[in-house]
């Protein structure tokens, strides 16, 4: 389903009307209905998502109430992963494009685009196959911030686009949430900046549910059963590679550690990203 909506139409999203310069016309593809614009949470972050960022999304989204709509910018990295995880956990999702409504940008994510069209909503204030320009990205960010009641910053370097969106949302009077990160990561510096100014720090989806006044206790921890493996206990505190584990357990040889790690992964107690193992 594709179409357009003007700012005088009743179906025009209410939240967006409240910002200083709302788009006069919005083009859309997908499920355009009233519910999808309720309880919108904008999720922003770096184009270069770290494995940590992916795990944050997985963990927080798995505990979000299904009434929440995830709004993001369809760029690769955190944006695209937010859409993917939203679809994975059955949340509604809106992708706001920086380009014409008929253009898929970035084009490599065609599959995701089609999935959003069928299960969520694609929005743009530009017509046809208008190419994205440097100036269209902040315009897009204003819609992302404007649609949402709150913005969640997953990962952001200082002076990044994600920070611009967060500040914009703050100026619209919306709430901003950040997820704590490692102080050794560059993608944490932006989050520190805004949490010193206005943002609230959260570490699970339950605080977001609370913010939206939604009562949802979630489906967490059913899979992550307690296992008395020594390796698992170590991974719970710090993510490690197989070589790190070898240092912790000098008595076990590499083949034993590899074996145990495979079995733990298959039981979904731990996950692996680029050779590093993390406890679930």
């Amino acid at each position: 389903m594709a179409g357009e909506v003007n700012d005088f139409d009743t179906s025009y999203p209410k939240m967006l009307r409240q910002i200083p310069s709302p788009p006069k016309k919005l083009y859309y593809k997908g499920k355009f209905n009233k519910e999808i614009f309720e309880n919108c949470l904008a999720v922003v972050g770096s184009r270069k998502m770290s494995p940590y960022g992916e795990r944050v999304l997985e963990k927080i989204f798995s505990t979000l109430a299904p009434e929440i709509t995830i709004v993001s910018g369809f760029m690769y990295g955190v944006d695209a992963e937010a859409h993917r995880k939203a679809l994975k956990f059955g949340l509604r999702t809106i992708a706001v494009m920086p380009c014409g409504i008929d253009l898929i940008h970035p084009e490599g994510q065609k599959n995701l685009y089609e999935e959003i069209v069928s299960k969520g909503l694609i929005l743009s204030e530009f017509d046809g196959v208008f190419e994205p320009k440097l100036w269209t990205y902040p315009r897009r960010n204003r819609i992302v911030a404007g649609l949402s009641m709150a913005v969640l910053v997953i990962e952001a370097a200082s002076e990044s686009g994600s920070l611009i969106t967060a500040r914009m949302a703050h100026s619209f009077g919306r709430d901003v949430f950040v997820v704590p990160g490692s102080i050794f990561s560059e993608l944490n510096s932006g989050k520190v900046q805004i949490s010193n100014e206005f943002a609230k720090t959260i570490d699970s989806g339950f605080s977001i549910n609370k913010f939206f006044n939604l009562n949802y206790t979630g489906k967490l921890s059913e899979e992550c059963k307690i296992n008395n493996s020594e390796i698992l206990n170590y991974l719970r505190s710090i993510p490690m590679t197989i070589d790190d584990l070898k240092k912790q357990f000098p008595n076990k040889d590499i083949s034993q550690i590899s074996t145990e790690v495979t079995l733990l992964t298959m039981n979904k107690h731990i996950v692996e990203r680029d050779g590093v193992f993390y406890a679930c």
Binding site: Y76, G108, D243, I254, S258, T259, T262, M266, D274, V276
Partner: protein, 509 residues
């Protein structure tokens, strides 16, 4: 007067017999002419032989001399026809018989001495096959030629000693190989396995790779020790078996890479071509096709550092060699088949800047750049690589601290384990044409890989849990087979499968 002397001609790896016919005639304008499709290096033999004669105090006849290299339709190249031509002339002039069932081979120097000449090993192989039990080669080639055994090898020092031998005045002594110790010819650029600090997983992978001949790829940021790990394989891989040694020596003899006074090669070849290598340099080429790096790495290691920097054509050209263990180089005049059963060890950075996934550095590449970089590696080549390992930088404090002794596995222990695993495989495949587990075809998996209790079930679960392809399934079984052999177990057990799963391809799905 007509004299016939036997010699050879090489075409690729094939050797043909050549008759060098020398005719000295009293009629006609004096001079020396060579016929029989001789190339420049053979034609120049005329001047070398003439000058060598004069400088050895022999009278060069002032008559019409014609030399025919038969069969006349086979191209001849190389400088080794000097000795057969000179022998023919001596026998014709001094009217002594040419020794029976003998092959002559070698390049002359102006002073009458014989120079080290390439491919004498091929000569002795040909001699043995054709029951020609005597060969005359330059002194420095005698060990190489004699290493096959069962031949009378005469190492000729210079022309005058040859004259003395042919006339029976003073016989050259038959070469006999007194020292049969291992030749350490490839041993120049290796790091010792137990001096590699940290990198336990990569080292374990290397052990499996050395034992089962599996191809290995290591991916990690610069400076993490990939190259050092790869080179340390030289210190744990067992020497060539006799059969393999003959195959390898033949190749190295053909390209003239056996130094003077060396015999059979015992160490496995380790080739590490630079990434600017040309296509022909990798697979072989030339008008008269000569082997490339893949063939020089036969029965040994082909190490491709910075794998993704190699040109696309070079990487793709590895497909056939990796699959069949041989390569056919076809040129308009001739096509040659070279063996190239090598173990590939590749190393690569995870992205163009190199720091993707490095805990200490920020990667500066865009998503697209990383995608394009990895696209070069994906596809059929990666499918042929059984073991994939992530290598992360070693912590500096580990390097500073003297932790060499922390490993309870000494070099000798590992070496024995690897050698033992190779022996187990040799027994398993004695009726097959393969040597290692990495060569097991998918159709042979059932025959050679039996599973212990629960192992197959675990494998099936792993396929589901990790979303692995059918190809990955066979790869895991092959690697698990080697791990079980390292464990000296006849059945593949649960822990072998579980470990093998860790070496699956994770990077380029």
């Amino acid at each position: 007067m007509l004299v016939k002397v036997k010699s050879i001609a090489n075409r690729g790896m094939q050797t043909f017999g050549v008759d060098v016919e020398v005719n000295i005639s009293n009629r006609g304008i004096p001079g020396l002419e060579i016929v029989g499709l001789a190339d420049k290096s053979v034609a120049e033999s005329r001047d070398r032989v003439k000058t060598a004669f004069q400088n050895s105090g022999l009278q060069f006849p002032n008559k019409k001399i014609t030399i025919n290299l038969a069969p006349a339709d086979l191209n001849k190249e190389g400088s080794f026809y000097d000795l057969p031509i000179a022998t023919g002339l001596i026998c014709a002039l001094l009217e002594v018989p040419v020794p029976e069932c003998s092959l002559f081979f070698g390049e002359l120097s102006f002073d009458g001495s014989l120079r080290h000449t390439k491919s004498s090993f091929l000569l002795s192989l040909y001699a043995k096959e054709n029951n020609l039990n005597t060969i005359f080669v330059p002194q420095s080639c005698a060990k190489e030629a004699a290493s096959i055994g069962g031949l009378s090898v005469y190492g000729v020092e210079d022309l005058s000693s040859l004259v003395d031998h042919l006339t029976g005045k003073n016989l050259i002594e038959k070469y006999c190989n007194l020292d049969s110790e291992n030749e350490a010819y490839f041993d120049k650029d290796s790091s010792e396995y137990n001096y590699v600090v940290g990198q336990g997983q990569a080292k374990r992978a290397l052990q499996i790779c050395a034992s089962g001949g599996h191809n290995l790829i290591m991916i990690g940021p610069p400076g993490s020790g990939k190259t050092m790990v790869a080179k340390s394989i030289n210190s744990i891989i067992p020497d060539l078996s006799e059969e393999e040694s003959i195959e390898v020596t033949k190749i190295y003899s053909l390209v003239g890479k056996i130094p003077p006074n060396f015999g059979l090669l015992k160490k496995r070849p380790f080739r590490s071509p630079h990434h600017t290598i040309s296509y022909a340099g990798m697979v072989g080429g030339g008008n008269n096709p000569m082997p490339g790096e893949v063939t020089l790495a036969h029965r040994g290691i082909l190490f491709m550092d910075e794998f993704s920097e190699f040109s696309r054509q070079v990487i793709e050209s590895l497909r056939q060699p990796l699959e069949n263990g041989k390569i056919t180089v076809s040129r308009s005049r001739f096509s040659a088949e070279f063996p190239c059963r090598f173990t590939l060890i590749a190393s690569s950075n995870p992205c163009p800047c190199g720091f993707y996934g490095d805990p200490n550095h920020q990667c500066t590449c865009t998503e697209n750049k990383i995608k394009n970089y990895r696209a070069k590696l994906s596809g059929p080549i990666l499918d042929r690589i059984d073991i994939h390992v992530n290598v992360l930088p070693v912590e500096k404090k580990l390097l500073i601290k003297d932790s060499f002794s922390s490993s309870n596995e000494t070099l000798d222990f590992i070496k024995n384990k690897v050698a033992n695993t190779r022996l187990i495989q040799q027994k398993r495949f004695k009726d097959e044409k393969i040597f290692t587990n990495s060569e097991i075809a998918n159709s042979q998996i059932d025959k050679f890989c039996s599973f212990g209790e629960g192992a197959k079930r675990l494998l099936e679960q792993a396929i589901d849990a990790y979303c692995l392809s059918a190809r990955a399934y066979f790869k895991i079984i092959r690697v698990a087979r080697t791990i079980a052999d390292l464990d000296e177990k006849s059945d593949i057990e649960i822990n072998h499968i579980a470990e093998a799963v860790q070496y699956r391809s994770k990077f380029f799905l």
